[in-house]
């Protein structure tokens, strides 16, 4: 089954004519992802890696009406518009590779997505991969192998190290999802945990968080409700003291956002806490009774 994408998912690429987008479109096609069209306003009629380019998402969808996923590779100043265009056209999952999208833009996008029942992943996500089936984004395929562990992480490189660590111990992934490194994200840990909980091909979930933000704490209560074990890895325990929140931030978030508060919230709700990357597969084994 896998979550969000599989070998049949039709995907479009917004901003496909850009340097990174065109290279990674080629990699995605090589991996087997069904890329059915690209969009770059003003460049309709061109081709990238054999994929037809359209001026608008609507035009692209009029020819391939069953495209389910759009991946966004446009510069940050155009990201809000591009995501809203995808939502307006009826796309149900938007994977936003673009990094450093203004915060107020992402808040607006989240509202629009919620209203239309759309899942936005990112921004600043490396994408996601269901090994052996499909890859949307820029993840290096070498490290991912098909298997029954779901992973979800905020950082791109950590997504790769999780897979690497699992694979060295003989595990593989059902799907690996990068949430993205921007401060305001579309999908959060809880959204992805829910999908893994309902996925018949996932036995356990590894989530990797880091200092800053509150998404780990917000997901913690859901872990208690899950039938599948969750192994959590939180980085930033030894990080130097960073920026201090303003008064108003502290009023709302209190002491959330530290590695300590995240680990406490997760472990008190039943997550296994890994101290190192290599401990993750050991805890997966333990959690699965092996």
């Amino acid at each position: 089954m896998s979550i969000i994408i599989d070998e049949n998912t039709k995907t479009i690429i917004q901003g496909i004519t850009g340097r990174n987008a065109s290279l990674h479109t080629k990699f995605m096609l090589e991996y087997g992802t069904k890329i059915v069209g690209g969009v770059t306003p003003g460049k309709g009629g061109q081709e990238v890696a054999g994929v037809k380019v359209y001026d608008t998402v609507a035009e692209c969808l009029s020819e391939v009406p069953d495209a389910a996923v759009s991946s966004i590779w446009v510069p940050p100043q155009f990201a809000k518009d591009a995501i809203l265009e995808a939502i307006d056209a009826g796309i149900k999952t938007v994977v936003v590779i673009t990094e450093r999208i203004p915060i107020h833009d992402m808040l607006y996008v989240r509202d629009a997505a919620k209203e239309r029942g759309v899942m936005v992943i990112g921004g600043n996500t490396p994408g996601l991969i269901s090994p052996g089936k499909a890859l949307v984004g820029m993840l290096p395929k070498i490290t991912f192998r098909p298997g029954r562990i779901g992973t979800v992480a905020r950082s791109g490189a950590i997504t790769y190290y999780l897979a690497n660590s699992l694979n060295l111990a003989g595990f593989g992934e059902s799907t690996s999802v990068g949430l993205g490194g921007d401060p305001i994200l579309g999908a959060n840990f809880e959204d992805i945990l829910k999908l893994f909980e309902g996925d018949s091909e996932t036995d356990a979930v590894v989530m990797a968080g880091e200092i800053g933000g509150v998404y780990e704490e917000l997901a913690a209560p859901y872990i208690r409700k899950m039938s599948k074990p969750v192994i959590a890895y939180i980085t930033g325990k030894a990080a130097p003291q960073g920026k201090r929140l303003g008064h108003a931030g502290a009023i709302i978030e209190g002491d959330m956002g530290t590695a300590k508060s995240k680990i406490e919230a997760l472990s008190s709700n039943g997550a296994y806490i890994a101290e190192t990357l290599s401990e993750i597969p050991e805890l997966v084994k333990k959690a699965l009774g092996g």
Binding site: E99, L107, T143, S155, Y161, A239, T276
Partner: protein, 394 residues
């Protein structure tokens, strides 16, 4: 990005939020004091709070008094910051103080207006001890605060008559500043009602979204550009900044040469976990150029504290062949003697490995202390070996 009080007040003035008359004084501009009427309040300009308690906000009755107090403040440290300027502001008699802020509630994913009629003191303490004194109103993303809503807020703060309208106007303007300039926070604490019936923002905090500054040229006109705000920079940090490399000096002996920020943070944890001491935090960014990679290595090798280097490259959007080329070129040009224990895997790995093997064949002696592992060696093993190598150098 946090602004200084004087910068925030310039923005307030431009956007119609009342502030007191003031001048900015640094070591070269004492003549500004000609322009003020005494008594005044001398306020050190730093990014962080707690100035009052640290003796960095002081009243002065005349010019001589002001000059002495300014001289005493300039050059002092507050937290990690050196005080380089002071704001000299008219002194007023305060009748009552309230708190108004607009910020982003990351739990709800909405902008929020926060009000309290207990302003001026430690507002976090108020939130903890008497949460009933704090009012929160959520605003839809992209939505505005309309005048009637401003009046509702002003009434909640206990204002009546003409003052209600004045305060309502400030709430509306504060929110439009927050929205239109892409702020993460705009805070007035306190907003003061003076004994003569005036209403002024006595302090001003503005935190901008750096990722949105490209669309606000007016900030540049006010001299506000992206900058480092965490504290004073070391020489290496300054150099790193000039090359566009996020870099923080730590006090250990293992140079950390990672890929992205996420693994940079994890690497510091892991080195400490296995008993080593990292010398730095660093982030190469999305797809670093070879020049940038060479500069990154230079930062580590030229640091006399650093005894060994731990490197990790997981090619995603970045390419292993670029990484290998930069490494080889750096080593050939600088002939470093410090051991480098690294791991390289991911996109374009095969090409990268060929480059390294060729270099080793060309100059085996030079590359003797450089080891580059691949995907089949756990990253922790690479870290442990680096820690051992650093210990052997002692």
């Amino acid at each position: 990005m946090r602004l200084y009080e004087f910068e925030a007040k310039r923005l307030f003035k431009k956007h119609g939020i009342p502030v007191l008359d003031s001048v900015l004084v640094d070591e070269n501009s004492f003549e500004e004091l000609e322009k003020v009427t005494y008594p005044v309040v001398v306020k050190a300009q730093t990014f962080i709070g707690g100035r009052g308690k640290a003796g960095l906000i002081k009243p002065a009755d005349n010019r001589k008094d002001a000059e002495n107090k300014i001289k005493n403040m300039l050059g002092r440290k507050h937290g990690a910051f050196e005080i380089k300027s002071v704001l000299v502001e008219k002194k007023v008699e305060v009748e009552r103080e309230v708190y108004i802020a607009a910020t982003i509630d990351r739990l709800e994913h909405k902008p929020v207006l926060i009000l309290s009629n207990k302003g001026g003191i430690d507002i976090e303490e108020t939130a903890r001890q008497s949460p009933d004194a704090i009012f929160k109103y959520y605003i839809n993303p992209g939505g505005k605060v309309l005048p009637f809503f401003g009046r509702k807020c002003a009434a909640k703060l206990g204002f009546k008559g003409p003052l209600l309208n004045k305060c309502a106007g400030i709430v509306v303007k504060l929110y439009s500043l927050f929205l239109n300039l892409d702020c993460k926070l705009v805070e007035i604490n306190p907003l003061a009602l003076t004994k003569t019936g005036g209403i002024f923002a006595l302090d001003a905090k503005v935190n901008l979204d750096e990722d949105a500054m490209f669309r606000h040229p007016e900030l540049k006109e006010l001299g506000i550009t992206a900058r480092h705000e965490v504290g004073e920079l070391t020489e290496r940090e300054k150099f790193a900044k000039s090359k566009g490399i996020p870099y923080v000096d730590l006090d250990g002996d293992i140079g950390v040469f990672p890929g992205g920020a996420g693994f940079g943070i994890a690497a510091i944890d892991l080195i400490q976990y296995y008993g080593g001491k990292p010398a730095n935090f660093m982030d190469s960014g999305g797809a670093p150029t070879q020049e940038k990679l060479r500069a990154m290595l230079g930062l580590l090798i030229e640091n006399p504290r650093v005894k060994a280097i731990f490197g990790a490259r997981f090619g995603g959007i970045s390419r292993c062949d670029d990484w290998a080329k930069a490494l080889v070129q750096y080593v050939k040009e600088n002939r470093p003697e410090k051991p480098m224990i690294m791991r390289m895997t991911g996109n374009m790995e095969e090409e990268g490995r060929k480059i390294l093997e060729q270099a080793k064949r060309d100059e085996p002696e030079l590359f003797k202390k450089i080891k580059v592992y691949s995907v089949d060696t756990p990253i922790e093993e690479v870290i442990k070996e680096t820690i051992r190598a650093a210990a052997e150098c002692k």
